[in-house]
């Protein structure tokens, strides 16, 4: 049977960082306690000239640098985000133009909170499987923002990753995928509002944990696998505690989860989160490694993937673009005032 999966991947994490303790000091809180409680020490901040479109373009270009695909062969681009630059006018067309994939191209933007990017992967897999396209590009990226003084201020960050999906030169097959979806209002943003609202502790058990757990168990049951069959596991990471807890609940170990856990150092990149986690695993994965990914998006739903790394990964020029580890390490700290300026916290007209 033809193998459909990831042909290449790329990511982008903006360079600026602000420490949780610096934010805490502004609001008179105990930064140390907050960092330890959330499992987040610092988060990435986009400069004012970066947005979801620029991060998506950088991610897509990185993916193209690693392989030899002619971008004109990409037949579809789906970009998932909760911070698309325009409410109406897709990010996908900007990416398409910037990588030379236009005009013979299907494009749409997705929104499903933090799992919009993995939904894009599912779409591209289906189009390739249906032989409607040879290659698809799925991107999850965000420059998520939080209201000043809100708990989310410590985690809402910026970053993204893109995956080229196809059936030729596949470096990691996507063996199966399924989702678990309900109408659960744990976290949302009304259309005219600048910042999201959330249900506090309601975002835990009835939301994140319920959907990831059920989705993961359903997929493993369907394909007959167990946690110990996997080399790596990647979960959505709104903070440093939830993914570790859900992994434990499901029977995965910290060792399996470590490589794909970036939130302590870059924060929650929302639609980029699970995607960047997967990219981080692919940076070091070897042929034969098996990866289990379960994303989560508020509103609510999870997408789970069973992935096997192929020999082809050794032929991918992984060093042609920065790895997640390199981007995490390439950083410059800023203070709260600069953060406020860059994220446009101060405006009056």
């Amino acid at each position: 049977m033809e193998q459909i999966g990831i042909v290449s991947y790329g990511a982008h994490i903006p360079r600026y960082r602000i420490k949780a303790e610096v934010i805490a000091a502004v609001w008179g809180k105990d930064g140390d306690a907050i960092s330890r409680g959330l499992g987040i020490f610092e988060k990435s901040v986009p400069s004012s000239d970066q947005d979801t479109a620029t991060i998506s373009v950088e991610s897509a270009r990185a993916a193209l640098k690693r392989c030899t695909l002619n971008p004109a062969e990409i037949g579809a681009i789906y970009v998932g985000s909760e911070s698309h630059p325009y409410a109406v006018k897709p990010t996908g067309t900007i990416v398409g133009e910037a990588i030379g994939a236009t005009p013979n191209l299907m494009v749409a933007d997705y929104e499903f909170a933090c799992k919009a990017g993995t939904a894009a992967i599912q779409t591209c897999v289906a189009f390739v499987k249906a032989n409607m396209i040879n290659y698809g590009l799925a991107i999850g990226a965000d420059t998520s923002q939080a209201a000043p003084g809100d708990a989310l201020e410590y985690s809402a960050s910026a970053g993204g990753a893109g995956f080229i999906i196809g059936r030729t030169n596949v470096i990691a097959t996507i063996n199966d995928t399924l989702s678990y979806t309900t109408d659960t209002p744990d976290f949302w943003r009304r259309a005219e509002m600048k910042y999201p609202s959330h249900g506090g502790r309601f975002t835990g058990e009835p939301a994140y944990f319920k959907h990831i757990t059920n989705c993961a168990m359903n997929l493993m049951q369907k394909i007959g696998t167990q946690p110990k069959d996997y080399t790596y596991a990647v979960f959505h990471q709104p903070n440093g505690k939830f993914p570790v807890n859900v992994a434990k609940k499901l029977g995965f170990t910290l060792d399996q989860v470590k490589q794909g856990l970036l939130v302590p150092y870059i924060g929650n990149t929302y639609s980029g989160a699970s995607m960047i986690g997967l990219a981080s695993v692919l940076d070091i994965a070897k042929p034969g490694d098996r990866i289990f990914v379960t994303s989560y998006g508020s509103g609510a739903g999870s997408d789970a993937f069973d992935i096997t790394v192929t020999d082809e990964i050794t032929r991918l020029s992984r060093n042609a673009a920065p790895t997640i580890a390199e981007m995490v390490a390439d950083k410059e700290y800023i203070d709260y005032g600069t953060y406020a300026k860059m994220t446009n916290l101060l405006f009056w007209e």
């Binding site: 000239d49 970066q50 620029t54």
Partner: protein
């Protein structure tokens, strides 16, 4: 919102992808693309061909802008440089992701995709090239 969009849409291939052109008579490369070659003039009419530049180049001169135009005020101080692209043409562009004290004549750079400007809060966003230090 006060600007017409066509003017900026027209130059997307240049701003996003460094699309220039080359004179069929003397092989000189131009960016942005020209209707004719200033060296060959009439001999170049009809033989200019499209060419994609790499965006890689070197800093020829620079300044650090402290008082910027309205759309750039929140990025000051920022470096602006004249960069000689590897194919020959020179461009003016902002340098990003580089500490100010590291910006030097001769520094090697490569293009990166950023927001350049926007037409207020309701108008279009214009993306294009900026430059960062080349690894």
């Amino acid at each position: 919102m006060k600007e017409g969009v066509a003017r900026f849409w027209r130059e997307i291939p240049q701003r996003y992808n460094f699309m220039g052109n080359q004179c069929g008579a003397c092989d000189r490369v131009f960016f942005p693309p020209r209707e004719s070659c200033p060296h060959c003039r009439r001999k170049s009419i009809g033989v200019m061909k499209e060419v994609k530049l790499s965006g890689k180049g070197e800093v020829v001169t620079y300044t650090i802008i402290h008082v910027g135009p309205e759309d750039f005020e929140d990025q000051t101080p920022y470096p602006i440089a004249i960069i000689r692209l590897e194919e020959g043409p020179q461009v003016t562009g902002q340098i990003v992701d580089t500490p100010l004290e590291d910006v030097k004549i001769g520094m090697k750079v490569e293009g990166t995709f950023r927001k350049i400007q926007q037409d207020g809060h309701t108008g279009a966003i214009y993306y294009g090239y900026k430059f960062k230090r080349r690894r």
